[in-house]
């Protein structure tokens, strides 16, 4: 048994390391590819500025890559980690750690490609703004890294904290913690690229609005990162709550379901919030006088777009805190897993849709600020209807948990 566990740990560590660097590199590559494509367009528009454009892209990419370097560090640590006392718990948490930082770096890598891309195009249009543009781009992509940093914190905790000899079901909870944080960071990482990109684009259009643009970008991306923070809360609870008495059979499904519920639903909400924040940055660049109504409607739209994620969090909490009686049958466990899956997937669409509606409304508040209150009302009604599908998913989840 001793040798088997040892080899299981090795397999888990290699698997985790592979996923970590694999997803991380893909994210960095997509972001960089997007930036390179836009830089090429910028070069064809304004070939004599090739030096400036390449410099901007180089600096932007260097910062955008940090998420992937986090993934690399974790991957190498996983590959060469010496585990003194191998347990099933450790194996599960190593896979979870790899998944966590890999997926987190994927989102941040894709997201931070956007400011780099828009900055390259912006410099081609307004070369004299290079200093200001670079600063905005760098701040934007640094903010985009936050979800990846949160993922790295969770991944390192999963790797180095000794969870002792808790019952085997804790292994599922640890794997779930990594999964939840990783999935939850994707949407926020990609989403916060939008405000950063739009801020760079807007700077080229309206350099005088630099102050409000940067402020709005920071607020917008901070709110877009709330779903990632929800995912971190669930991950921390899965890691540190004492699940001593829970029986293995339904509990493993409950933990996995709790992780999937918040993690998946955070993807839609995070990206949706990012769309809303991006539209608001674009609007401020068009009409800097409308900062007040634009920020208000952005915050309202983001708050509603986050609701599916809050539903996901609710289902996760119920799954974690409700005590389920032990059974030998498969059906009750499947019902709990299915509840999490249902709420998780069900939250993606409405989160995204609410973000799109908010994007549309915000874009037109910028052009027509006198009908701001009318647009806000229509936006709320439209979002409420599109949210009802998330609510159906929540109802099915609650039926699966409480009735079945």
């Amino acid at each position: 048994m001793e040798i088997e566990l040892q080899s299981m740990i090795k397999v888990a560590a290699y698997l985790g390391g592979g996923m970590s660097i694999g997803f991380g590199a893909i994210g960095a590559a997509i972001g960089e590819g997007h930036a390179a494509a836009q830089a090429n367009r910028a070069l064809s528009e304004n070939p004599e500025l090739s030096g400036d454009i390449v410099k901007t892209m180089l600096v932007g990419q260097a910062v955008a890559e940090s998420a992937a370097i986090f993934a690399l560090v974790v991957a190498i640590l996983l590959l060469f980690l010496q585990v003194p006392a191998p347990t099933v718990l450790k194996a599960a948490s190593l896979i979870g750690a790899g998944l966590c930082i890999g997926l987190g770096a994927l989102g941040s890598g894709v997201g931070s490609g956007m400011p780099a891309a828009e900055a390259c195009r912006g410099i081609a249009r307004q070369p004299q703004l290079m200093g200001r543009m670079t600063t905005t781009m760098l701040v934007g992509s640094a903010v985009c890294q936050t979800p990846a940093i949160l993922s790295m914190v969770i991944a390192l905790m999963l790797m180095f904290i000794n969870f002792g000899d808790a019952p085997v079901v804790k292994a599922v909870a640890l794997f779930g913690a990594g999964l939840c944080m990783g999935l939850g960071a994707i949407g926020s990482g990609m989403g916060s690229g939008h405000p950063a990109g739009e801020a760079c684009k807007g700077l080229a259009r309206q350099p005088a609005a630099a102050g409000p643009l940067t402020a709005n970008m920071l607020v917008g991306s901070a709110v877009s990162q709330t779903p990632a923070i929800f995912a971190m809360v669930v991950a921390l609870m899965l890691m540190f709550l004492n699940f001593g008495e829970s029986a293995f059979n339904p509990a493993w499904a409950a933990f996995l379901g709790a992780a999937l519920s918040t993690g998946l639903s955070a993807i839609g909400s995070g990206y949706g919030c990012g769309l809303a924040a991006g539209a608001s940055c674009e609007g401020i660049a068009r009409h800097p006088r409308n900062v007040g109504p634009l920020t208000t409607i952005m915050l309202v739209g983001q708050a509603v777009a986050q609701t599916p994620c809050i539903f996901g969090l609710l289902v996760s909490f119920i799954l974690m805190f409700k005590a389920f009686p032990e059974t030998a049958a498969l059906a009750p466990a499947m019902a709990l897993l299915s509840a999490g899956l249902c709420m998780g997937f069900g939250g993606i669409g409405p989160g995204l849709g609410n973000g799109m509606t908010a994007e549309g409304a915000i874009r037109w508040v910028a052009r027509q600020s006198e009908s701001a209150s009318l647009l806000m009302r229509i936006m709320l009604v439209g979002q409420a209807v599109s949210q009802s599908t998330a609510i159906y998913a929540m109802v099915i989840s609650l039926v699966l948990i409480f009735v079945i």
Binding site: E32, G33, G51, K55, L72, I76, L77, G131
Partner: protein
Amino acid sequence: METIRDLQKRYCSRAMIVAIAVALVLVVLGYKPLARGLVLGTLFSIINFVLMGQTLQARLAKPRSRPTLAALLSVLARYALMAVPLIIALQYEPYHIVTAVVGLFMVQAAILFESAKNLLWHRSSATGIGK
């Protein structure tokens, strides 16, 4: 007008100077493995940054290349190189892993520090890498 080479030189030398200064302090305080790890990490961070500039220019020169695939290849190749200091630090005692990781982010830190300085002091277009 600063060329790309100058830009790379500026950030690299800043990162190296900071790393060596911190390393010297650490050596004086008696933490030799920490100092060695930091310098090793910074060295590879700089190599990565220089290589990134080279591949970028090569890729931008021919516009018909598929950007994402080319980026993936360049990322993977450079990361294989970046893994070297980490492996060295994990395998050999004289290099400390934590400072090697810190060293890997030295160039990024130099870039971000400059932009943070610009943002705080609002010296809008007079500074930055445009000069």
